[in-house]
Amino acid sequence: VDASRAKILIVDDDETERALAGAGFADDGLEVFEATNGSDALRVFQEQQPQIVMLDVVMPGIDGYATCAELRRRAASADVLILVATSLDDTESIELAYRAGATDFIAKPIHFGILRHRVQALLRAQRERAVVQQKIAHMAFHDELTGLPNRAFLKEMLPYVVEQARRRERVGAVLSIDLDGFKRVNDTLGHAAGDTLLREVATRLEGCLRGSDCVTRGDLAGSPADAIARFGGDEFVVVLSDLASTDDAALVATRIVRVLTKPFEMVLAEVDGVRLGEQELHVNCSIGIAPFPSSEDDSDRLLSNADAAMYDAKKSGGGKFQYYCADMSRKATEALELETNLRRALERGEFELHYQPKVRCSTGVVEGVEALLRWRRPGVGLVSPLDFIPLAEKTGLIVPIGAWVIRAACAQAKAWALEGFADLSVAVNISTRQFRNRELLDLIRSSLSDAGIAGSRLEVEITEGSLMEDAKHAASVLNELRALGVKVAIDDFGTGYSSLSYLRLLPVDTIKVDRSFVRDVTVNQDSAAITAAILAMSHSLRLESVAEGVETQEQVEFLMRHGCPVVQGFLFSKPLPAAELVAWLRARDVEPESASAAVTPIRRLPGIPRPTVTTGE
């Protein structure tokens, strides 16, 4: 039997008419069903789901109008065609028929030849409508690139799957899958290669789900099956609908990780059947698993829980899967709250700068300070930069925040000049993202001129990583900065992978020895050796050195012995608000001897000579 054959239901209490009408429709290839009265019609309609119903108005029992209205109410598809047969001159019954939901009316006596053509035309229009609707539904519920169901589809389907699992006392899981390193493929090989990779990933994922009978389904009917959806970008979601235990999700996750970490063979171009630019790509993936049923069965909740677990897996290095636990959701909520508040912090003026003095060992004079960002969060207090800078970096908020820092630091330098500290320079930290930003130089220029200070009053601290990311860009920015008189310090030196000889090529003024080495100089021979080497090489390159994180007298002695000219750390002062810094500076100037030992350690070491620098060169 041809499944696409249209079904027609003829409802008439008169068999002569049913037989005559049916004969014509059967000749036209329709599958004909008959009913002799209203209730019979409803039963046959339910069983056969015909595309078209022809209904006589005058019947014993439930009449044609009532039958029509009830059919309309029960029809699974609003598209079912209902033709009501009525006398042409009876306008009242025509009106009643339309009101009952009839598609059209047939004039009696019926001209069967005309009726057959009319039915064919109506069915054709119905089919065309169905094709269009199907296409729209497919587009709305499928991802164009991979042909997989999309987010909308999954959200529609998930509550149903969860409910089924609950009723059948089975368990399932939502797996959130994110590719590690996909962005790199897109950036370096182009979007076409990225798209090819995503399609291949989709194919591999489909292969991962159990049998061939439970791959993706295109409809919402029937029993639940496993499903894969692409949520956009490199985000995929798998729903495992019928597991014996939630532990089984780990088996699937393991399989997915194993399958996706296999190299992808990519052909970048093909000319006359010859594959060009064949390349083996390696990607990794992180998977978060949220099992159900659970106390949090809401679909959105399951998806966000799977996401939270996925991020956790990603953080621990990728190529892993991770089950969701309640703690993640708390962390995720906190992170979201933090982000929202961070966005508002700038406009609400909740940021402030604290300044940590840098002390010249030979003279004890404070020549400059490092500006350090603090966030005074209402109701929370002072938030450590460690708690919000990574988030600011991730969200890009670091750029406007960094701009504020530069402007505020320049304005502060001007204020200090007015208070008598005209030579005090202020150093600001420039994040990698900000350093990459093309507007940095303009920002610095305008900040200097708005504050009315010379470039030499400003110093920028840049990490090795920022410089190495794009050496050409770095060189041009540093040259511009030098032209402005702004000094450049390499921050956290020793932790990255740059060599001092490479730094020789860049216009850098200062090297800041990372606090991790300084902390251990008196207890760890390696740290001591590295620190000594950095100081010696820096000296030979005629660069200034600053040791950060100095906390003990012993560390100062070691650093001075190895020729470190400038020190900075809690031993001298913690970072201070601008006003307190001025008070601190004044106290040193007026009564240096009476100040606490920690504040003036230099003067207590007068006998230490400028060390002679020995280098390997």
Binding site: D13, D14, E15, T16, E17, A19, L20, G22, A23, D56, V58, P60, K108, P109, I110
Partner: protein, 129 residues
């Protein structure tokens, strides 16, 4: 063979010159597949006299709704098989019942019986039955 229920006496009507069945419809009926044709004819031969009896009883009892529905049904099916004169007569009866203007039922019944008989006879020439 045609079987006529006893309630309808065999009357030959010469009044109407129109054939009982439209020639065009007759042709159409003859062109039907044999199984469909025999079903149509069988149904009409079975139902028309039965419904006619119902109409007659309703007329006697002044049951206008019963007359109306019966006349409506036979108007339709008679029209469907091409018995246009008979369909007209049932149509007139339906309209009269609808308006509550039923006249002398004996005249009506006599005329209907005669025409129905003509039609049933005509059908026997259409094909098998």
């Amino acid at each position: 063979m045609t079987t006529i229920p006893p309630s309808i006496p065999q009357v030959t009507s010469a009044r109407s010159r129109r054939p009982a069945l439209d020639p065009k419809k007759r042709h159409e009926l003859q062109a039907l597949k044999p199984d469909v044709r025999s079903r149509v004819l069988r149904a009409y031969r079975r139902d028309a006299p039965a419904v006619m009896s119902v109409i007659e009883r309703a007329l006697e009892q002044r049951d206008t709704a019963g007359v109306r529905d019966g006349a409506h049904r036979l108007k339709s099916s008679s029209s469907a098989i091409g018995a246009s004169r008979l369909a007209e007569l049932y149509g007139a009866l339906e309209t009269a019942a609808r308006r509550g203007l039923l006249g002398d039922e004996r005249t009506v019944v006599t005329e209907l019986r005669a025409e129905l008989l003509r039609v049933l006879t005509g059908l026997s020439n259409v094909g098998d039955g």
